[in-house]
């Protein structure tokens, strides 16, 4: 195939992006007085001109070529860069399709390769015809399994649906409603409020405050309630948008997930790349008997979202072990048995949590003695956190998989790792633990481009050693 350029629609993206960048550069870097001397229309047209020139240059210089052996991407103005990706090195192909790309039949294609090479590990074609993605998939299949593909036409690879699952509206609702994603949003709102309160005219603000001063508490409560409600709605909308129309399909050795409303996202990944399976439940979802299933993938993207792919956003707990093995064939078909840690260990987790919580309490007492009573809430919360963590920590074995359960911050995580995916195992023991015969067992798993440590804390040392020897054998 000849050299190709991206679809010209990318010019709009480039233009807007560089317009914003250059505006920021002008505002932040260039002297403010200097800008004031230029009349606004001239300044604007200067920015627009720069944006147009840089976008055109970027468009012109970005070329790609789907060759016989490899995908080649050329880019860069001052530093020319040429990236070759042999097809058999491609690990996953992802696509992102914003709603405005759909009418044009366009999408962004992200290609991930193996190898631990940092930023250069992945390549992007930010705006290409859908056919490019199919062509890449076809070549990737052709490279990875020549004999297999010979009999299967490329079209059937795309359309033959294996096992499939589509989220229904009710599940999506429950998933969004039980999400704890509200916490960061509330922090964001408070931050935005603190920024905005600088902008709102002083007298307006003080008038508003003085009129309700007698009802200070009422205002505070209203404010908190308002933040909570807005936060919940935003978090709900965010999750619904992200997981709208979630489907997962298995085609031979590949798992494909599709999701999103405004941005339709497809991730195709090899089952061979799965390093571990994680079943997650927050305390809220435990109450509703719901679980989320994720896979830990080896990839070159260090991003957390990329390395832990959600295969099943929401599933009833009793269905996990009947449904999931259809997609991840090596999963056990019944709930794995987990041995809890002894009370001695659970007690230590409570102690640790409370001890950590006492640090801010001491600080609080020193800095603001008058309100220090409130700080006692922290150790109480910590007490429950520690209790929760202790109760939900455990370990087990299913065939050749290690099952580790951790509880932290009111959520329970069950990790299943095949023995062959454990990169190393460590027994950790401080001298105080030695006295009471406890030890931590930590196993090292690859996640994305980095390490994920799965640790089961405060096991009886005999048990820890038993698992350690199981791993070594």
């Amino acid at each position: 195939m000849p050299k190709q350029r991206l679809h010209p629609l990318i010019l709009v993206n480039y233009f807007l992006g560089s317009l914003i960048n250059w505006t920021v550069i002008f505002v932040v870097v260039v002297n403010v007085h200097f800008i004031r001397e230029i009349p606004a229309p001239q300044l604007l047209s200067l920015l627009v001109a720069i944006a147009i020139v840089t976008s055109l240059a970027r468009y012109w210089l970005f070329t790609f070529e789907i060759g016989d052996q490899a995908l080649t991407i050329n880019s860069g103005l001052i530093f020319r860069k040429q990236l070759h990706i042999p097809y058999d090195r491609i690990q996953t192909v992802q696509t992102k399709r914003w709603f405005y790309m759909i009418p044009f039949g366009l999408e962004a294609v992200i290609i991930e390769t193996a190898g631990k090479s940092g930023d250069d590990g992945d390549a992007q074609l930010p705006m290409v015809k859908v056919a490019v993605y199919q062509e890449l998939l076809r070549r990737q299949h052709a490279g990875s399994a020549i004999s297999e593909v010979a009999s299967v036409s490329p079209v059937s690879v795309e359309t033959s649906e294996g096992t499939a699952y589509k989220i229904n509206a009710r599940d999506l609702n429950v998933y969004a409603l039980t999400s704890l994603g509200i916490a960061p949003i509330i922090l964001g709102l408070i931050y935005a409020y603190s920024k905005f309160s600088d902008v709102i005219p002083r007298e307006w603000l003080s008038r508003a405050i003085s009129s309700v001063q007698h009802a200070e508490w009422l205002m505070l409560v209203t404010f908190i309630l308002g933040v909570l409600i807005v936060g919940t709605i935003l978090s709900y909308v965010q999750i619904v948008l992200r997981y709208y129309g979630f489907t997962v399909t298995r085609q031979r050795n590949q798992i494909v997930t599709r999701r999103g409303l405004f941005q339709r996202r497809t991730v195709t990944s090899d089952l061979d790349r799965v390093q571990a399976i994680v079943v997650k439940q927050s305390v809220l979802r435990q109450l509703f008997q719901l679980a989320t299933v994720q896979t830990v993938l080896a990839s070159t993207l260090s991003d957390d979202e990329e390395s832990e792919m959600v295969v099943m956003p929401v599933l009833r707990t009793d269905q996990v072990w009947t449904v999931m093995p259809q997609f991840l064939p090596w999963l056990p078909t019944s709930q794995p048995v987990i041995t809890a840690i002894p009370w001695l260990g659970q007690w230590r987790m409570i102690r640790n949590a409370v001890a950590v919580a006492m640090i801010p309490v001491v600080g609080w007492v020193i800095v603001a003695r008058a309100t220090a009573g409130w700080s006692l809430l922290l150790p109480v919360i910590a007490l429950f956190l520690g209790r929760y963590a202790g109760q939900h920590t455990g370990i087990g074995l299913v065939a050749d998989y290690l099952v580790a359960q951790e509880g932290s911050l009111f959520s329970r995580t069950l990790t299943l790792v095949p023995k062959k995916r454990i990169q190393a195992a460590t027994i950790q023991q401080s001298i105080w633990m030695k006295r009471v015969g406890l030890a931590h067992l930590a196993v090292s798993v690859r996640s994305g481009d980095a390490e994920k440590k799965v640790t089961v804390r405060y096991l009886p040392v005999k048990v820890a050693r038993q698992y350690y020897e199981w791993y070594r054998a």
């Binding site: 190393a424 195992a425 027994i427 350690y468 070594r472």
Partner: protein, 157 residues
């Protein structure tokens, strides 16, 4: 561990020398702080605090040398490499040879002087260090990993 080895005893001298190295660096920093106090009237207590920290660091580094040596052990077994260290916080790690992606031998000037090498073992997820081994041991490790890797290839095929 059945056949574990201690680090070569020269490592104690290496550690003492590196403590001495920290002392030198510390003295340079203290000197700079005293100069800064003299020329730009930085507060003198900065230099005093730095002095105390440097002395503490060197004393601790020197005094734990025998313990570090006593509890640092490694074993290169048929199937895995085991590394054990620490008394107060004891760690024992097993790395199967089939999981090892690459082995790097490196030696700074002090290690070179003692003809020792640091072995850095990398897995797909993380890296581990055997602080110092004799050159023969490094060679043994390399050969063993290569044979095992070759055997694994045969199994795969």
């Amino acid at each position: 561990m059945q056949t574990s080895h201690q680090l070569p005893s020269e490592i104690k001298s290496v550690w003492r020398m590196s403590a001495f190295g920290s002392l030198l660096i510390g003295i340079v920093i203290i000197g700079l702080l005293i100069l800064a106090n003299h020329f730009w009237s930085w507060p003198f207590w900065l230099a005093a605090v730095a002095g105390v920290l440097v002395v503490l660091d060197v004393v601790v580094e020197l005094s734990i040398v025998p313990y570090r040596y006593r509890f640092w052990r490694y074993a290169i077994n048929e199937n895995d490499v085991e590394i054990e260290s620490g008394f107060f916080f004891h760690h024992e790690t097993a790395i199967p040879i089939t999981r090892i992606q690459n082995v790097t031998l490196s030696a700074g000037p002090i290690l070179q002087w003692f003809k020792l090498k640091t072995v850095i073992i990398e897995t797909a997820a993380d890296r581990y260090e055997i602080e110092a081994v004799l050159p023969e041991t490094a060679e043994t490790l390399k050969v063993r990993i290569m044979t095992l890797a070759a055997r694994k290839d045969v199994e795969d095929a």
